[in-house]
């Protein structure tokens, strides 16, 4: 899986030794990460593993106090505006403005990304069509279901033709059908545009199914990295070498995660605030 890092063709995301502390809490503690161009990369981990903090450093929402973050070669600490122009960002909360229509929500993002007046309406129309919201475009977002709001946020992110789409827990709180719908739209858009997707999730089954590569994050660092199959087969082989029967089923990504994180995973996963904000998101989705 090693690749030549060509200076002319930098990786979509490179984090080197990224660290971010909230007071005494080491949210991100020496993170090294590379996301290749065009892949769907899943950053996995329980609540409180540091995924969201890492994402916020990459999106320039948080400063980069230690280490280095580059997006397509641009430094996230020095060239914030340059990095932002490359990004489409969907935060964990359902962030569409409920008091505006779907089309108005997307148009706002077209405007703040400097889409010219001449092509604005058409571009917004294309973004809404790409997520199947053309028919609902002129309804207020407060009438949308959770899955529709997620798709609307996807359209908001797509309208500026980002090279890197960053989604923080995109399917949190959604029912299984809506989850599948959101992923199918992400995949369809990726296939059509070739953009790179960086997604965080704590649903291991989703990562297994939809991500090209995953990084398992625990206590501020990536503890295992590879394709889901590689990671699962690696653990399976090791278990067989340790005497597990050959007929044993292939471990799941969750097994890999438990193996990597070791004990203490259950009691250290997520502080009160994480759980609260997760619940709040889930509530809003209804």
């Amino acid at each position: 899986m090693t690749r030549d890092i060509d200076a002319a063709e930098p990786e979509a995301v490179t984090c080197t030794g990224l660290a971010y502390f909230f007071g005494e809490t080491k949210a991100v503690d020496g993170l090294d990460l590379s996301v290749h161009r065009g892949e769907v990369f899943g950053l996995l981990g329980p609540n409180g593993a540091g995924k969201t903090t890492a994402i916020r450093c990459i999106t320039t929402l948080l400063p980069v106090p230690a280490g280095m973050v580059r997006v397509f070669g641009s430094d996230a600490a020095k060239d914030r505006m340059g990095v932002r122009r490359l990004l489409g960002y969907v935060p964990q909360q359902l962030s569409a403005d409920a008091g505006l229509t779907g089309r108005e929500n997307v148009t706002l993002f077209a405007r703040v990304f400097d889409v010219s007046r001449r092509e604005r309406a058409e571009r917004v129309g294309q973004a809404l069509a790409a997520v199947d919201l053309t028919d609902a475009a002129d309804r207020l977002a407060k009438t949308y279901s959770g899955g529709m709001i997620r798709r609307l946020e996807l359209a908001q992110a797509l309208v500026s033709a980002p090279r890197l789409l960053i989604l923080d827990e995109p399917t949190i709180g959604l029912d299984p059908i809506a989850r599948t719908g959101v992923w199918e739209h992400i995949n369809a858009v990726r296939a059509a545009t070739g953009m790179t997707v960086l997604v965080t999730t704590h649903y291991m089954d989703e990562a297994d199914q939809y991500c090209d590569r995953v990084g398992l994050m625990h206590r501020g660092r990536v503890r295992a990295l590879g394709t889901p199959t590689e990671l699962r087969q690696g653990l399976g082989e090791r278990r067989r070498a340790e005497g597990a029967p050959a007929s044993a089923p292939l471990p799941t990504l969750e097994d890999v995660f438990r193996d990597v994180a070791g004990s203490g995973l259950d009691d250290k996963s997520g502080d009160f605030r994480d759980v609260r904000s997760t619940r709040r998101t889930a509530n809003r989705v209804g």
Binding site: T101, E104, L158, G181
Partner: protein, 284 residues
């Protein structure tokens, strides 16, 4: 069993068609055009929201209407306040217009905190919009919202027989005064939002400072009748300058419109600077 029902919508690569524009990043605007573009975008959103839900405009018109009707009409009869020969209701109408605009702006920070909790603010911060441009945009959006409110109060005042000017240039000045004043007060609110970060605390502080700002200004009575210490408060209170300008422009009272504009402009710039520098705290 595991087969999905045929009616489920499935998106596939073939179905995403007509996306040529989504493959081409928009060309960045030149630096000097960025700020007006962002201000325009934020103001448009504010107007769109008001168009979809006008309840706030109507409910917020009740209080100024009562001020003019009850307080204004009563004090016109008792002639307790020296107004320089102007009927009291005419004298206070600009004060009430400024007050109702200020009420909208001073609670605008609550909207910022709400947008922060909903993730909307974070998403805007990840767009090519410098923080000062985002704050300026939001402040002018608050200005637009206040302006709509002020227009409602102007209409109420006109219906109550206040002798207002219809000179378009002066009305343009009124528009500028209300917007500038609201830019300052909304930035004050967003600055406090950046400090306290919680909606409840901002609500409390907003309530606590609204009345002193209002009564410590020339909205209801001239500065000359105040005790010395209150005169000092009034002289550093931007609301006094807003009211003075409105009084001069709307009812032709003696006023220092140029000085008022200068003070409001400086206050607005200071407010934008303070709120922008604290916006980062809301991004964490």
């Amino acid at each position: 069993m595991s087969e999905a029902p045929a009616v489920l919508p499935t998106a596939s690569a073939e179905r995403v068609e007509g996306i040529d524009l989504l493959l081409r990043p928009p060309r960045p605007r030149a630096g000097w055009r960025l700020l007006p573009a962002r201000v325009g975008a934020m103001c448009t959103v504010e107007l769109q929201k008001l168009r979809h839900d006008r309840t706030e405009v109507y409910t917020r018109a009740i209080q100024p209407a009562l001020w003019l009707l009850i307080f204004g009409q009563t004090f016109t009869r008792i002639r307790a306040i020296p107004t320089g020969g102007i009927p009291y209701i005419d004298y206070m109408a600009p004060g009430i217009i400024a007050q109702s605009a200020m009420f909208i702006a001073i609670f605008y920070g609550i909207q910022i905190i709400w947008e922060r909790d909903a993730g909307i603010l974070n998403k805007l911060l990840v767009t090519p919009t410098p923080r000062s441009a985002l704050i300026t945009g939001k402040a002018f959006a608050a200005g637009v919202k206040s302006l709509i409110q002020a227009l409602v109060v102007v209409v109420i005042a006109a219906l109550l027989g206040v002798a207002l000017t219809w000179n378009p240039l002066k009305l343009l000045g009124v528009l500028g005064t209300v917007v500038l004043g609201s830019v300052f007060f909304s930035c004050l609110s967003m600055t406090i939002a950046g400090i306290v970060i919680s909606r409840d605390r901002l609500m409390g502080i907003g309530q606590a400072i609204t009345m002193p700002l209002f009564f410590g200004s020339n909205a209801l009575y001239p500065i000359s009748v105040m005790p010395g210490w209150l005169q000092a408060v009034s002289k550093v209170n931007p609301l006094s300058y807003e009211v003075d300008a409105l009084r001069g422009l709307l009812i032709g009272a003696h006023a220092h419109v140029a000085l008022d504009f200068a003070v409001l402009l400086v206050a607005a710039l200071l407010g934008i600077t303070a709120a922008s520098s604290l916006l980062g705290r809301l991004a964490r």
